[in-house]
Symmetry: C3
Subunit: 270 residues, 3 copies
């Protein structure tokens, strides 16, 4: 999942366009994108909304477990059965929330944990062991919770963003990277996506269709990266044949870690 | 508390000027600003020193619990009664130190925990649950303890500075940001204060009167920030009225987190 | 140990040159620098390899405890007795691995723990309490394990690199900094070494002789730093004599932390 594109459940016009963007997954949002007064109406519209997405796997983001809508949201997703790929639980702060979500959906349903609050980040290691199949880091909500401010560089979120990536690796689940709210600045999105990939993130939340192709590109290996990975493996194999494991490649010393990264790059490219 | 201005207890001349600076709080320091040979004399002078500050709430910073002066320092602060707003405990490394301080002072006294050592940062989550009403992060002492070096960018302290801000949020107490020792460089102070505010800090330790107005400005919402916050709320309310929760504002997608930040900005502006 | 220079145990030509580089320690590597097919041969050559290094203390890096070679590697190092200064354990992920290594070698043998995986970083605090005499942070392997990418700035590794430095301080052991694979770029190595020293690292792993003098220089106090440290102590002593503890020095406010850093600088310079 390199790209996951959001559309609010109170915006059937946007949901109907989700297929066009070419995202690896679509998220129909019952949480922040739906106003309080429209929560029940949006939930009731789910079957129709989900049916309007034909070619993209659909996930539904439900309101947080601390809200009055959580149970009804989960029930509505469960009733959709195999029409949805799974659920995204926002603002996860207790292991039981994920167990509850996983328990209500069928076997094989995806459960993505939203780590986007002080309590979520502080317990992320335990949370991700509790039945998540993936997680996302929500920098906007996390920094808002701390009373801070978001910047383009994102230094204020680096600690949490790094810690979530590590916790995801420990739990063996994919980490999905923070949104970029300034959806008109493609360069900012690309830089942020690249930084996310450097940290170990596997894909990115998108809030606008224009962000999807950038995420798909950044979270795939480029031709250049593939060529480099193949070159590294070839140099290493040639060295191994001569009994040498640490070889030089384009001015860098190549050994174990570089080999593992090169293999990972080629595997992800399929 | 946007600004807390230090003056050493062995410098009655500087203490007497504390009122002029316009800081939100004044700290009369018995710790690093007082030489070993002058500790008892400085402590004995506290009543007079505190009395010389008329318009600014006064806190007293006491020597660390591992020193021979800690108990006498706390007793001296306790005797000052309501003449002081509370105590700042330097180099906190065990929960009992804060409980001890809180227990000796009256109800309602402020206890600020100094997190400024390897052991302090490593236990900050537990320490701040032990009776602190606020905390500060001391980057100079922390990096000295690790045998590192301070830089203008502060990358070396980012992990600890971020972790302390998160722990403060979890404990529900205000986090106060590191000092800037180069007191002649207003620009460096302003950048450092802004970075602290981005991370969620609520105010800053000041070691020179010239730093106080900068801290007061950076840790208040600017007119521009207030106008933006009001604009965001207006756009959101207008969207809500039309049944839409995620709206566009100046090229950015505005939903839950942005609304929470805008409300926080307006609240802090009073 | 400001500089530790690697040579693969399957490269007797490089091992024989280790003395020339002027490193504080040499590491004969049985791990990533030796291909799988050559592991046993390289291990068998250890006595001869170690004997070829005359003037530099020698450490042997053994394969990780999860590999089939770990026990035989440790036995081979133990048999070398006082001909080696100790062992470097790669990819440490459980306290028993270090206890096992320390137990097999004689009293006084150095055991350096390699922290270079998700599990290693996540448990670094406990690992370093289990008998390590020092540790190194391996950014290449750590980021490869997370599926990320290494960059020149190293932002992707800052969280782990900072956390390892803190854990080392807590355990009272020296932290040794990450390698720089681009061995032709002296400037990159110097910047990376300086950043490591800022974080509290005491020395650096080197993969090429050209990196050694740079590491030795960066991890020693420069004449300028020594002069500054002496100036700070002099200003502070002069202030103390006048009953003042926080004094000005070259436009900065100098008190406890600056004094402690200055003393550390002078001590390290011997």
């Amino acid at each position: 999942m390199r790209s996951l594109l959001f559309a609010g459940a109170s915006r059937p016009d946007l949901v109907a366009k989700l297929d066009r963007a070419g995202a690896d997954a679509a998220i129909v949002d019952l949480e922040d994108a739906v106003p309080v007064a429209g929560k029940n109406e949006a939930r009731a519209a789910l079957p129709e909304l989900v049916a309007s997405v034909a070619r993209t796997p659909v996930l539904v983001r439900v309101n947080a477990a601390t809200t009055e809508w959580f149970d009804a949201d989960l029930d509505a997703v469960a009733e959709l059965g195999e029409a949805v790929a799974g659920v995204v639980v926002s603002k996860v702060e207790a292991p039981g929330e994920l167990e509850s979500a996983a328990g209500r959906l069928g076997e094989g349903a995806v459960v993505i944990a939203g780590i986007e609050s002080a309590r979520g980040v502080a317990q992320v290691e335990a949370l991700l062991e509790a039945g998540a199949s993936a997680c996302y880091f929500g920098a906007e909500d996390y920094i808002a919770d701390l009373g801070g401010r978001r910047t383009a560089e994102g230094t204020e979120a680096l600690y949490a963003r790094s810690r979530v990536a590590l916790a995801a690796r420990l739990a063996g689940v994919a980490a999905l990277d923070q949104v970029v709210t300034d959806f008109r600045d493609d360069g900012a999105f690309e830089r942020d996506a690249a930084a996310g990939r450097d940290l170990g993130y596997r894909g990115k939340l998108c809030i606008h269709p224009a962000q999807v192709p950038i995420a798909n590109r950044v979270f795939s290996a480029s031709e250049e990266e593939l060529a480099r990975a193949r070159g590294i493996l070839a140099a290493w194999e040639e060295g191994t044949a001569r009994g040498i494991a640490a070889v030089e490649f384009e001015g860098e010393m190549i050994d174990g870690p570089a080999i593992r990264m090169a293999r990972d790059t080629i595997e992800r490219a399929g």
